[in-house]
């Protein structure tokens, strides 16, 4: 919805783009300033630093929308509420300082949850309660907040939002609005920019789909590198390079080291699967060295052509995409 598309021909209605909203940041790590951390310490349960899914900025004024997607609502006592308290604090007057845009009060913020149809009212109730708690227990101000409700309706997907969100973000259309059509027997999902985030809780089928997209993208990167390479040289892939190529560089900024280890293991296993699928003796041109990563030795044109031919026949969908990957020795030894 924030992507530039023609309003005459669109697949997903570019509601945010048309309203002058642009992606300010993807998954930024936002830390509460020291004075706020001291003020809230041991009084309310909140996180010192949080990572919202997205921040949108309004081109027309200095307003920012902190977006967080949740599959379901949560109550004020739940563990997720600690993250929500931090979002509410961050969306207040301190937002411009936290984002480095200036001193306090220079920007206005709003926390918006994207949530399914049966959860929006509950979610609004939770946010009301959390705002009240912040006011009463630490006498701190919360930012604006609200919920975008996504629901299917007949053969379309509808987005609903309260008037306070429309006004704050200068959204040009009244709620509700149809954002895309659902065709019979057709999955409405768009192309993914960031294919896989192990931090997001997913159903098994969803996780398999996302892993497949990640693997397809890694395979396309490997193929491109081999096909575009000159002969008589070797290509080296660090696992992190592959992951950055497949995630538009987002892998580099994930700060969840456990999640990163998990995803590295997945990719190493995937490349090992690719290698195993290559016929002997061609397989020998792919090797792994712990200090360097994956090395593909393209000694001549025949090797390059045959490798490309075999790799183009490799099908990530035929792998066990829900496989649990166990840690291996020396898994952190790539430089």
């Amino acid at each position: 919805m924030a992507q530039p598309q023609s309003i005459l021909h669109f697949y997903i209605y570019p509601l945010f783009y048309e309203s002058g909203l642009r992606i300010y940041s993807i998954g930024p790590f936002l830390a509460l300033p020291p004075d706020i951390r001291l003020a809230v310490a041991e009084k309310i349960n909140c996180q010192d630093a949080v990572r919202p899914d997205l921040i949108l900025e309004s081109q027309r004024n200095r307003r920012l929308c902190i977006l967080e997607c949740k599959a379901s609502s949560f109550g004020p006592e739940s563990s997720t509420a600690s993250q929500a308290r931090s979002f509410l604090l961050i969306a207040s007057q301190i937002l411009s300082e936290i984002l480095g845009l200036g001193t306090r009060g220079e920007s206005e913020g709003m926390v918006c949850y994207f949530i399914g149809p049966d959860n929006a009212e509950l979610m609004e109730g939770t946010l009301d309660a959390l705002e009240k708690e912040i006011k009463e227990k630490v006498n701190c101000e919360s930012g604006n907040y609200g919920c975008f409700k996504i629901r299917p309706f007949e053969s379309s997907i509808i987005l609903e939002y309260p008037e306070k969100i429309k006004k704050f973000m200068n959204i040009i259309k009244d709620s509700p609005i149809q954002i895309t059509e659902i065709k019979k027997d057709t999955d409405p999902r768009p192309l993914y920019f960031i294919p896989y985030d192990p931090n997001i809780q997913q159903r098994k089928e969803e996780q398999e789909y996302c892993r497949r997209v990640l693997f397809e993208r890694i395979l396309s990167y490997v193929l491109s590198s081999i096909g575009g390479s000159t002969i008589s040289r070797s290509i080296t892939f660090l696992t992190d390079d592959l992951l950055n190529a497949a995630t538009f560089g987002i892998f580099d900024i994930w700060e969840d080291n456990e999640a990163k280890k998990h995803i590295r293991r997945l990719v190493k296993d995937f490349i090992a699967n690719i290698r195993a699928s290559i016929n002997e003796p061609l397989r020998e041109c792919i090797s792994y060295e712990s200090q360097k990563g994956w090395i593909i030795n393209l000694k001549d044109k025949e090797t390059q052509d045959e490798l490309l031919k075999q790799l183009q026949k490799f099908k990530p969908e035929e792998l066990d995409l829900s496989k649990m990957i166990e840690p291996t020795l020396f898994e952190n030894t790539e430089i």
């Binding site: 530039p4 697949y11 065709k183 027997d185 768009p190 397809e216 000159t230 031919k309």
Partner: protein, 420 residues
């Protein structure tokens, strides 16, 4: 005339001045022969080529061509003679580090095949692709530049090869049949029961200006302009530009021919910059004081919207022919993720240049996400192929902007300098 003589004549040309004079005189002779309808030797043909835009990956022409078995002999800073197996094939001029032109006197059949094989052999080299949408804008420039009584020639080619009737064709080697126009040659005649339009329109500029858009509204294959003649301002005839960057000199002046190539190349270069600036997806990392790096996603999707919805059978055959074969007309690779009867997504590779490209195909549109570094040429080739084989009246958008408006903008700032 046997080719060996052409090679010998080219061998004796050892300076730019001699080359220009020789090609100029040669063009004048051919024009006289054309007037007498007794053409004795092949016309001058030029092929506009594109090297990678990424300066880190750019190679010198000698290195680039030697990697695919071609020899170069430098005759000045930007002009080279090109040989293969000791045969002189023509001259290659380096217009910019990204754009080259290959000039030759060899027969079309031989020259077309030689250039096509050169492009197929190198992931760093591609044709300059002029889609029907681009030609439509270039045609408007022709109309502005030419006197109303001058004759213009346009060729329209559309072939709905993915309509289900074509399945009976079986084992075609699609990759060899990628867009390549050599209209001087005879065509294979086949019985087809699917839309296949190929015809040439030659008329006065004033007449075409008045009628073309009306005709296009009546019959959509007329949007698929595949060749356009720029009338020569210095005499009869002109310069025939084809959609794969081939330019045939049907005028009596080589310098004028070259100037027209430079004009179109400048427009194309501007178009390429605008395309890549808008379409390239990447994460832009912005450093701010607290707490570190912020990431913005920049770029725009490329949307090609079909004028007519494809039937499910046509859609399926298009997908099967493209992603079910290693060699296919679109030169794409990918494992389709099937999301519905007429919807797939592919995180694949453009095999022309071996660069990643992400695609969504439905019966109504094609959406392409082009990661930064994937040449803008990929987009122009995709639009060419869609107009040629899927829907001649398809509209293209880069982000919210119509592709034709971008082409129009890219041609406005370019001066039309004819050297005389």
């Amino acid at each position: 005339m046997p080719d060996i003589d052409i090679s010998k004549e080219l061998e004796s040309i050892n300076s730019r001045e001699k080359m220009i004079r020789y090609f100029d005189g040669y063009s004048a002779e051919r024009m006289e022969e054309l007037d007498e309808r007794k053409i004795k030797r092949p016309l001058v043909k030029s092929y506009m080529l594109e090297h990678v835009g990424d300066t880190d990956r750019q190679k010198g022409i000698t290195e680039l061509l030697s990697s695919i078995g071609k020899e170069t002999q430098k005759i000045d800073e930007n002009m080279y003679r090109v040989l293969e197996n000791k045969e002189y094939m023509g001259f290659l001029e380096v217009l910019t580090p990204r754009y080259f032109v290959f000039y030759t006197l060899h027969h079309s059949e031989k020259a077309d095949r030689w250039v096509r094989n050169m492009v197929l052999s190198s992931p760093d080299l591609d044709h300059v692709w002029l889609s029907g949408l681009t030609f439509d804008v270039l045609w408007r420039r022709v109309a502005q530049l030419s006197k109303p009584h001058r004759y213009v020639s346009l060729m329209f080619i559309h072939e709905s090869i993915y309509q289900i009737d074509s399945e009976i064709q079986g084992n075609e080697d699609d990759e060899d049949k990628e867009i390549s126009l050599s209209l001087e040659e005879g065509d294979l005649i086949e019985v087809v029961e699917r839309r296949a339009s190929k015809f040439k329109l030659v008329d006065k500029v004033s007449i075409v200006s008045d009628k073309l858009s009306k005709l296009q509204n009546l019959y959509s294959p007329l949007y698929a302009i595949s060749q356009l003649r720029f009338p020569s301002p210095v005499g009869r005839g002109g310069h025939d530009f084809y959609d794969n960057g081939k330019v045939t000199n049907r005028s009596g002046n080589f310098r004028d021919h070259r100037s027209h190539i430079l004009y179109v190349q400048r427009i194309y270069d501007e178009l390429m910059k605008m395309t890549e600036e808008r379409a390239w997806y990447s994460i832009y990392k912005e450093k701010v004081t607290i707490p570190g790096q912020f990431q913005k996603l920049i770029g725009s999707p490329v949307t090609i919207k079909f004028d007519e919805k494809l039937s499910e059978a046509t859609f399926n055959y298009w997908v099967k022919s493209t992603f079910g074969r290693l060699n296919n007309r679109f030169r794409l690779w990918g494992n389709p993720i099937i999301l519905g009867p007429t919807k797939i997504q592919v995180y694949g590779v453009d095999k022309h240049l071996w660069k990643p490209i992400f695609l969504e195909l439905t019966d109504e549109h094609l959406i392409a996400i082009v990661p930064k570094g994937t040449c803008g040429n990929t987009i122009h080739r995709l639009i060419c192929n869609i107009q040629r084989y899927i829907d001649p009246a398809a509209k293209a958008y880069i982000g919210s902007e119509e592709y034709q408006a971008i082409v129009d903008k890219s041609s406005r700032g370019i001066k039309y300098n004819i050297e005389h």
